[in-house]
């Protein structure tokens, strides 16, 4: 392992941590424009984080250590996920030890801890949010796995860097099975990141909340970490999407000098800009689904992913 590899690895993680709130801010800005509102500045998420870090924590009297630990675990899990996704380069030492299955495990770990922390306080909203999030989670996970299997089948590996390298080396990007998988992935992304049509990140109606309900009892630096972790989660999901379906521009093994890395960062920013605008458009055009439509929605995602697999196995082979 060379020093350069480590620089790449840590550089990538730090970049993810730094620009994840920017991505969220960009989506919020696009949403505001699409709804004909004056948009908040791009830096709004950072200001929010700064404000929250400056505040004193208000903690429920019977909050256990679990409740206090969870924000750090969440943030840590999302940083780890960022470390194993090839967002700018594929030569990542961390990605070699943890494949995409471990990645799903990390997401699940974060979900379990946040749900437990939400129930720890014992308010009705926390348990309600946790319950709903678990429902969404256990339906979204298989769909996400199926999407990943599509890519694994094509590249013959369960490690994301290998998937990227394989897909840039051979041009199987036009494989029809990936088209199904891409749609399924987009649906899972929206559901897993508490976006419309499954959840509404902007709502103030506590009875309709899913993710927000779990974070209701958090304040100050804890809330900041929870928010930052959600920003990172969305960023990570976007990067997984790029790695699977739009891998162009990612610096591959052997061709990852300074110039290639710089180009990779520029390409990543460009992709995020387009993806953010597209997400905002989808969110602005749709209304929130009645919560019991969520299983239908996620079953549809699962089905599309399976269709992708079938297309590959029956036609592509």
């Amino acid at each position: 392992m060379t020093a350069l590899t480590m620089v790449r690895q840590f550089g990538e993680v730090l970049l993810a941590i730094a620009i994840a709130p920017l991505f969220t801010g960009w989506i919020a800005q696009c949403r505001a424009w699409l709804q004909s509102r004056a948009a908040p500045p791009l830096t709004q998420p950072y200001r929010m984080l700064r404000k929250l870090f400056q505040k004193d924590v208000a903690l429920a009297t019977h909050a256990s250590a679990l409740f206090r630990m969870t924000p750090y675990i969440l943030f840590g899990a999302m940083v780890l996920v960022a470390a194993i996704i090839p967002s700018i380069a594929t030569d990542l030492p961390f990605a070699r030890v943890a494949d995409a299955i471990a990645l799903i495990g990390l997401f699940a770990t974060a979900r379990v801890f946040l749900s437990l922390a939400a129930m720890d306080i014992g308010t009705a909203f926390g348990s309600m949010g946790a319950r709903r999030d678990m429902m969404i989670g256990f339906l979204a996970e298989p769909a996400l796995l199926m999407v990943l299997f599509n890519a694994f089948l094509l590249s013959g590996s369960t490690a994301l860097p290998s998937v990227v390298e394989a897909s840039t080396a051979h041009s199987f990007l036009m494989d029809p099975s990936l088209l199904f998988a891409a749609v399924a992935f987009l649906m899972v992304l929206l559901a897993e990141n508490a976006r419309i049509p499954i959840d509404n990140p902007a709502t103030h109606l506590e009875l309709t909340m899913i993710h927000e309900a779990m974070a209701l009892e958090y304040s100050a630096r804890h809330l900041a970490l929870v928010e930052w972790a959600s920003d990172l989660k969305l960023f990570n999901y976007a990067c997984i999407g790029f790695a699977l379906f739009l891998p162009w521009g990612i610096a591959t093994h052997g061709a990852d000098g300074g110039l290639a890395l710089g180009l990779a960062v520029a390409v990543l920013l460009a992709k995020l800009t387009v993806a953010g605008a597209a997400l905002a458009l989808i969110e602005s055009l749709s209304a929130k689904l009645r919560i019991f439509r969520a299983p239908e929605y996620l079953a549809m995602a699962f089905l599309l992913a399976v269709l992708g697999l079938l297309v590959h196995l029956l036609l592509g082979a």
């Binding site: 709804q35 004909s36 309600m128 103030h204 009875l207 602005s284 749709s286 009645r290």
Partner: protein, 515 residues
């Protein structure tokens, strides 16, 4: 046994609609109610009065809406130490909460088994009744919070979700106790009264000429309806005839209030279904209207535009022109928004079948106003009890049969277009003319009723004059009293996350019902 209420000895009562007063004894109190129930009358309001300084007794009043008139029934309770009267809740379920409120304020009891406080939240002691004449209403009491036993639901997997009175958004306070299995609501119980301001007591210190200002502040979104009801009651007592121009302008203000609230609600309904586009666009339309209000009437929400004897300002030629332009811009915009709402599959999926209030339930429980009309119950004072100038405007009754959120949305759209038609007709009236007439000071102890169809439904003021231009008592009634209990029925069988949407489709007043 029900007696025919038509045979009751009744006297005509000053009001802006045909109104009669009947004095009954304890037995007739119930018999009248039963007869009225059978003839499909609706209860409008129930209130009490402490008249021990005059005739040594407490009085209880019930106002009923008959097909052609209003009947106020008054019962005098001889026993001033433990006053009580038979509960009307058997015939009119809507009376139940009003009766509990009357007990909290005056200590007049019913034979109901539910003796929990309604307005009293430990803000004053259990033995103190603030609306009695021997209480000055200036004293502060230490808050003593007492448990409030909610009706509990037993069963496997049943649990409770308590929401409010402090909510995550900036909205009025109210507590909602859900009994749920999973996400399905088995029962909802409301607890209101958090914004009780003692307005009835404040009225006792107001003058007749100034009472309209207090009335306008009972529920800010119904400022015109309440102040008109107050002015109508006072003008009926003093037999003042308002100038024709002032009456037209009052109706114009009332329709603007309806428009502003409907526009705001439609946006909020979209937003609560996750469709923020609707909120921004309806907010813009509402803001255009409010700015036109400020320019034309001198107040965005038309606060204090109505005064006894008329209105404060007439429309200038410019203002009239601006309003006409506004209507011309508003109509196509709302039409366009309506087609967006109607054709949005996701939105319609949320609206349809959510919070259905069946017509039979609405009639049984005495639904009133917009909510009743969306369930197919025909009741609109502007149509069936028209007061000037509505007797010449021929307003159309907006009816929807669905009874769900979608029906309440459609009713709002329809009412916007009908209001715009009325507004245009009102602006076609004669220009600058007399808009005020002096209102003489009324003699003491005269009761007058003002009844106005606000945007939510009928708003009623029962004004009793005091000596020297003062007010002896004034009861203000918001239609939310009747419709809040309906929400508990509309939510049954729905899921918890749909409650905010259903609640918004009712959009009832907390402040108006808390008083």
């Amino acid at each position: 046994m029900a007696t025919n209420f038509m045979e009751l000895q009744s006297a005509s009562l000053p009001a802006n609609v045909p109104c009669k007063l009947a004095r009954v004894d304890r037995q007739q109190w119930l018999q009248t109610a039963e007869a009225l129930r059978q003839s499909n009358a609706r209860i409008l309001a129930l209130w009490g009065a402490d008249d021990r300084d005059r005739d040594g007794s407490f009085h209880i009043y019930a106002a009923y809406l008959l097909p052609d008139s209003v009947l106020v029934v008054e019962h005098c309770m001889e026993d001033a130490s433990t006053p009580s009267y038979p509960s009307l809740a058997v015939f009119f379920p809507a009376a139940s909460r009003m009766q509990r409120a009357v007990f909290d304020l005056l200590g007049i009891a019913t034979d109901e088994s539910d003796t929990r406080g309604w307005l009293r939240h430990g803000g004053w002691s259990e033995t103190l009744f603030p609306l009695r004449r021997d209480v000055d209403g200036k004293h502060q009491y230490p808050v003593a919070s007492a448990p409030y036993p909610f009706v509990s639901v037993e069963g496997d997997g049943v649990h409770e979700i308590a929401v409010g009175p402090v909510h995550a958004g900036t909205i009025e306070p109210g507590h909602f106790r859900f009994s749920v299995v999973g996400e399905k609501v088995l029962r909802l119980e409301e607890r209101l009264g958090y914004t009780h301001k003692g307005i009835a007591k404040l009225f006792e210190n107001a003058s007749q000429q100034n009472g309209h200002r207090l009335a306008a502040r009972i529920s800010g979104d119904s400022a015109v309806a309440f102040s008109w009801a107050y002015c109508a009651a006072l003008e009926a007592i003093t037999e003042t005839v308002c100038p024709a121009r002032a009456i037209l302008l009052r109706a114009l203000a009332l329709e603007h209030e309806r428009l502003a609230n409907h526009l705001g609600d439609l946006g909020a309904l979209g937003n609560d279904a996750g469709f923020a586009f609707g909120l921004t666009h309806f907010s813009r339309l509402k803001e255009d209207l409010l700015r036109a209000n400020a320019a034309a009437f001198g107040a965005r929400y038309l606060l204090d535009y109505l005064i006894p004897g008329g209105v404060t300002v007439d429309l200038t030629a410019d203002a009239r022109c601006r309003l006409l332009n506004l209507y011309d811009a508003l109509e196509p915009s709302v039409t366009q928004m309506r087609s967006i709402y109607d054709e949005h599959a996701g939105l319609q999926d949320r609206f349809r079948e959510a919070g259905r209030l069946e017509r039979a339930t609405a009639e049984e429980l005495g639904a009133i106003g917009l909510v009743a009309r969306a369930s197919g119950v025909a009741c609109d004072l502007r149509v069936d009890h028209p007061w000037p100038p509505y007797d010449t405007l021929a307003p159309k009754m907006i009816l929807q049969s669905g009874g769900d959120v979608a029906a309440r949305v459609q009713a709002r759209f329809d009412e916007i277009f009908e209001s715009l038609r009325i507004c245009r007709a009102l602006l076609a009236g004669p220009p600058m003319a007399e808009i005020q007439t002096p209102v003489p000071i009324a003699a003491a102890n005269l009761l007058g009723i003002g009844l106005i169809e606000g945007w939510r439904g009928p708003v009623m003021i029962a004004l009793k004059t005091g000596s020297g231009g003062g007010i002896r008592s004034c009861h203000a009634h918001d239609p939310s009293w009747q419709n809040w209990p309906l929400l508990e029925y509309a939510i049954l069988g729905n899921i918890v996350p749909d409650f905010p949407l259903i609640n918004k489709s009712f959009n009832l007043s907390y402040s108006g019902q808390d008083g």
